[in-house]
Symmetry: C2
Subunit: 333 residues, 2 copies
C-alpha cells in the first residue's frame, strides 16, 4: 500500500488529509505528524489521517509523497529532520504561502535522491486549526506549483495530481515570481484587513462601530482572523515584496484621498467607476486570458504514485517557466 | 387599503418592496416610482410593487408611509417634488448611507404635516439594481433609525416596524453620529476595497495576479463592485468624516509598514495577534455590550399603519438620543 505523509495538521494539512481520504485515490495510507499529540489524535478521529506518527521523521518513513504543511518558518527545521528519513525517490512538496525561501531550504537540505516540488494551495477561511479542516477547502481555488527547472517530470505530475485530487486548479510559476504576485493578491489584502480591523477596534467608539458593522466590514476584515503565526511568517519571509506592494497601495490610497478631499464630482465618480466595471468583468469573465497559460489535463494522483509516465506536462511547464523568467527579468510587476 | 410608496427601485428600494410584499403585513398596496419606466415595470413583474407610478409625486398620493430609496444626492429633489403631494400625517423615511444632509433637507423641504424619520438599512451585495433585489437582504442586519428629537412617537414606530418586517435589527442614532460611525465601518472599507482592486487591476501584472486571486482577494475587494454613483454620493455628502477615518487608517497602515520593515519577530506577531483575538471575540460574541442600547420589542408595521399607539419606545428612544448627544458633544469617536 502506498504511503503519503503530512507534516503539520492545521487547517491546510488537515484539509489535504481529508481531501485525500475522501477521494477515489485507492489504496493509500496517510501518516500524519504535528507539534502536539492532541492534534494528531484529533486528525485521526476526524478521518484526515490513518497513522499517528510521533515525529516528522517517523511520518515520512516509506512515504512516496510527503506534504509539509508546517508554518513557513518551521519548514527549515522540518526539512533538516526528515532529510535522513526520506525514502529513495520520495516526492516532497509544501503548502507555504511564500515560496522563495522554502525552495532554497529544500535545495540546501533535502537529499538528491528526493524530489522537491513546492506548492501553494491558495485557500483559507475565517477559522484555523484541525477542527476547521474541510475536504472541499481547495475546490476551484488556485494551487500554485513551483518546480525548479531540474525537477523530475513524475515528481511534478505527482503534485499536480494532488492538487487535482483536492479539486484545485493547478498552475505553474517560478517561486520568486509567485512571491511577488502573492504579495499583491494575498499578503497586501491580509495587511489591509488587519490594519482596518485594528483601527476600528482600537477606537474609543468601537462599541458603537461594532453595532453598525455589517457584511461589508465583515468581508473586508475577514483576513484579520487568520493565524497570526502565518501572518508573521509571511511578513518575515516575503518582506520586500510586501513592502513594495504596500507602498504602491499607499500611493493609490493617497490618490483617492486627494480626489475625495477635492470633492469634484466627475473625478470622484470616475475613481469608483473603473474599478467597479473592471471587477464586474473579473467576476463574470474570470482572469484576463494569457496565451501561455492553458488549462491542464486531468492527472490522477494514483497513477502518479504508481509511477506511470505521463508526458506533455514537462514541455509545457518548461515553456511556462521560460516565459515567466523572461517576464521576471524584463519587468518587475 | 393602506398605501406605501417607494421612490427609487434599485437594490435597496426593490428589496424593501419584496420584503413588504412577502411579509404578513396584510392589506397594503405598494406604489413605486423610479428614474426609468423600465425599472418600474421590472419591479412590478418581480413582485416588489403593486402600482406603477409615473412619478414620485404620483407614488406618494394617499400613502401613509413613503420610503425614499433614491441616490443620496437626488433626495433633495425628491423631497421638493413630493412635498406638495404628501398626505396629511404621512410618515417619510429614507435609506441613504449618510444621514446628516438628508435630515437637514427633510427639515427644510417637507411640510410640517408630514413626519420624517431617517433610516439606513446597512446591507448590500456584489450586484446592484432591481434584478438583484432580495426580500432577505436586510435579515439580521443593522437598520439605523435617526429620528429628530421632535419626531412623533407613531412615526418612529412605523419606521421601526418597517425595519422589523424586513428582519433587520433596528437601532437609534443621531444623524451626525451615524455619519461619523458609518465613515469608519462602511465608507472607509469601501474606499480601501476600491483602492485595493484598483492597484491590483492597474498593474502590468494583473493577468498573473488575477490567476492567483482567491477568496481573500475576492472578499476584501467585494465593496469595489458597489454602485459608483452611491460611492460618489457617500464621498461627497460625508467627506469630512471619511477623510478623518482615512487619515487614521493611513496612520495605522504606516505603523504596520514600520513593523514589517523592521522585521522584528515579536513585534510582527504582536501586530497580528491582537486584531486576530479581538475579531474572533467580535465574531463569536458580537459587539461589546452597551448598557444603554437594549434590544427592542417586536412591533408590527400594520399596527403602526393602522395608527395604534404603542408606548414605551419613545421614552427609551429619548434616553438613547440624549445619551448619544452627550457622547457626541463630549468626545469625537
Amino acid at each position: 500500500m502506498e504511503r503519503i505523509a503530512i507534516i503539520g495538521l492545521g487547517l491546510i494539512g488537515g484539509s489535504i488529509g481529508l481531501a485525500i481520504k475522501q477521494s477515489d485515490v485507492g489504496d493509500v495510507q496517510v501518516a500524519g505528524s504535528a507539534r502536539t499529540r492532541g492534534t494528531v489524535q484529533r486528525a485521526k478521529k476526524l478521518g484526515a489521517i490513518d497513522i499517528e506518527a510521533a515525529s516528522a521523521a517517523e511520518a515520512v518513513k516509506g512515504a512516496r509523497l510527503v506534504i509539509v504543511a508546517s508554518p513557513i518558518i518551521a519548514m527549515r527545521a522540518v526539512f533538516e529532520e526528515i532529510a535522513p528519513a526520506l525514502a529513495e525517490g520520495a516526492v516532497v512538496t509544501d503548502v507555504a504561502s511564500t515560496k522563495g525561501d522554502v525552495s532554497r531550504w529544500a535545495k540546501e537540505l533535502l537529499p538528491a535522491t528526493a524530489h522537491f516540488v513546492g506548492g501553494h494551495p491558495m485557500a483559507g477561511k475565517e477559522t484555523q486549526g484541525i477542527d476547521a479542516a474541510d475536504a472541499d477547502l481547495f475546490r476551484g481555488k488556485p494551487w500554485v506549483i513551483t518546480p525548479s527547472v531540474d525537477a523530475s517530470e513524475s515528481a511534478v505530475n505527482t503534485v499536480v495530481g494532488l492538487a487535482q485530487l483536492a479539486g484545485a486548479v493547478p498552475m505553474f510559476m517560478d517561486p520568486d515570481e509567485h512571491d511577488s504576485y502573492a504579495a499583491a493578491i494575498s499578503h497586501l489584502p491580509l495587511l489591509l484587513s488587519t490594519a482596518l480591523f485594528s483601527v476600528a477596534q482600537g477606537s474609543a467608539a468601537w462599541p458603537e462601530l461594532a453595532q453598525l458593522a455589517s457584511s461589508g466590514f465583515r468581508d473586508t476584515t475577514r483576513l484579520a482572523s487568520g493565524s497570526p503565526e502565518m501572518a508573521h511568517d509571511i511578513m518575515i519571509s516575503n518582506r520586500d515584496n510586501v513592502l513594495h506592494w504596500l507602498d504602491r497601495f499607499i500611493a493609490e490610497l493617497t490618490r483617492y484621498r486627494e480626489i475625495v478631499a477635492a470633492g469634484e464630482s466627475v473625478a470622484v465618480i470616475e475613481a469608483f467607476t473603473r474599478p467597479q466595471i473592471e471587477r464586474e468583468n473579473f467576476v463574470v469573465n474570470g482572469p484576463p486570458r494569457r496565451d501561455d497559460r492553458e488549462p491542464m489535463e486531468k492527472v490522477s494522483l494514483s497513477e502518479m504514485l504508481l509511477g506511470s509516465k505521463i508526458s506533455g506536462f514537462m514541455n509545457k511547464q518548461q515553456e511556462i517557466i521560460k516565459a515567466a523568467e523572461a517576464r521576471a527579468n524584463g519587468k518587475r510587476p
